[in-house]
Subunit: 298 residues, 2 copies
């Protein structure tokens, strides 16, 4: 099995990056990732001012997926995630959803052991490792890996855990996939701008759906699919996620817009991914009782 | 046990309304409610233009709770909810999260039986009856029962089901509680502006916490508490919900702002209530593993 080391890092999603590895349809691959700070924070006394910010929010890759062409869907199965035993959380003035308040920069190192993050006396949180950044090269331009969009990127979705699948639209030949920014745990919102930032490794399997693609990245869990939309505001992100979902229901049942819109009030859950990245993220969750994958792709 | 009939209806929350019934600490009461359209829609041919809109979005009440004084918390236990066997869903042009699109007014009547809403061939949705509008009189003024705020109101929270508790701040003597607008089911978002609007009855038990109150209404389920905040945008609602929750964690653990803010990224989930009412609603969900009720009240 191929292993891509965490030294192979990019700081943007772009068609211009040279692939560091090639994978085939059905192939397994182990990707090592650095934490969001590029491993620069070694202790709680580290000053955020001294960080080299050009080494922050990297993703390991890019990988060239054989036969992936624009208009296809890249299917990424997240088979396993392992994280290291030490994570970092920071507050950064003017950042996060309460960035309008006055507060200090601060750094906390937490131990991760026996499935828990040991945050403080009486406050240990169950670990739920997930991938913050995961995506492909956009059609054009160079999108910082700290940002997000239809190509994926820094989506920070707490449900993107082992056992899930991600469907990404392919914009360029080979897709140019990369991933990084693992969190040992994150709540919906990622309120303070960081979560438990941690290095780790993820076991992935890649496959392709030819000639069809999703409007937004789609996350699949055991029970549901979700469009992962984003926008400049939560309201915009919610609107985009809803549009994609209502259109999928129109395809699935041959319903009018009005009927699919009604059904949305009953059965499409809007959930928050994060409220702190360059764009805010909302997922439109649709139970597999009601929708099939083919209706989600066009 | 006292029963308040659905004919006792108000269209605003206000200290000026005369109570229709009195209840004591610990007392059980059965409240009948009309559907959001005041029962005016009898069939799918009914034109929305012919609706008497002054009879829409009513709430049954108000009730005078003995000994309730400004600064107290009114605790409302939702012990049981029964809904009728026929519900109404509508689309209203320019309304709902996709109100910017062109579409037609439409009305759908659905049958509710054996625990399911029979929406269409191959699309029956499990019923999960909930209360859309529930609140008390505000300190001053007259807030339409179609709107929402710190006094509660048309919060449209899908988790407000039988088996939950709601903590409302008391602003005026006797609290002047009212409730209505049941939904046989609603997803997070209530995308098209209506859900399965249905008449029904709810069994409630009232009690008081003296001299302490929550910043926003608090919903309690078996596993968690949530502040139910609202704002002109989802982003505002998310910010207000976060502020209340982070302050509660500062009280619970005597943490600094920075530490509570960090913990929020790990353990406070921001979830969407609805995106279609005069104000948008977001709940900040906090597991009982981490927070106690006393830290949520001031």
């Amino acid at each position: 099995m191929k292993i891509v080391p965490r030294s192979k890092v990019i700081y943007s999603f772009s068609s211009q990056h040279k692939p560091v590895e090639h994978v085939k349809h059905g192939e397994l691959l182990l990707l090592e990732t650095e934490d969001a700070f590029g491993g620069q924070i070694k202790n709680e006394e580290a000053s955020l001012n001294e960080l080299n910010w050009s080494r922050v929010d990297g993703a390991t890759g890019p990988l060239f997926v054989e036969d992936a062409e624009p208009g296809d869907t890249l299917v990424v199965e997240i088979l396993d995630i392992k994280v290291k035993d030490k994570g970092v959380i920071v507050t950064v003035p003017k950042s996060g959803i309460l960035g309008g308040k006055r507060f200090n920069p601060s750094t906390k190192i937490v131990r991760i052991s026996k499935g828990y993050i040991h945050f403080d006396e009486g406050a240990r949180v169950k670990a739920n490792p997930m991938i913050g950044t995961i995506g492909v090269a956009p059609e054009s331009g160079d999108i910082p890996s700290s940002s997000l969009g239809k190509h994926g990127g820094n989506m920070d979705v707490k449900k993107l855990t082992a056992g899930t699948k991600l469907y990404l639209p392919v914009f360029v030949e080979g897709a140019l996939f990369a991933a990084g920014d693992m969190h040992a745990v994150q709540a919906d919102g990622e309120l303070c701008v960081s979560s438990v930032e941690v290095a780790g490794e993820v076991l992935l399997r890649f496959s392709l759906i030819k000639g069809k693609k999703p409007e937004w990245p789609i996350l699949e869990t055991r029970d549901w699919y979700a469009f992962l939309a984003c926008g400049d505001t939560l309201d915009d992100a919610a609107t985009f996620a809803t549009e994609a979902a209502v259109e999928a229901f129109m395809r699935e049942y041959k319903w009018s817009f009005e009927k699919a819109y009604m059904f949305g009030s009953l059965a499409i859950d809007l959930e928050i991914n994060q409220v702190v990245d360059p764009k805010k993220g909302v997922r439109a969750v649709m139970s597999k009782d009601f929708i099939s994958l083919s209706s989600l792709l066009t």
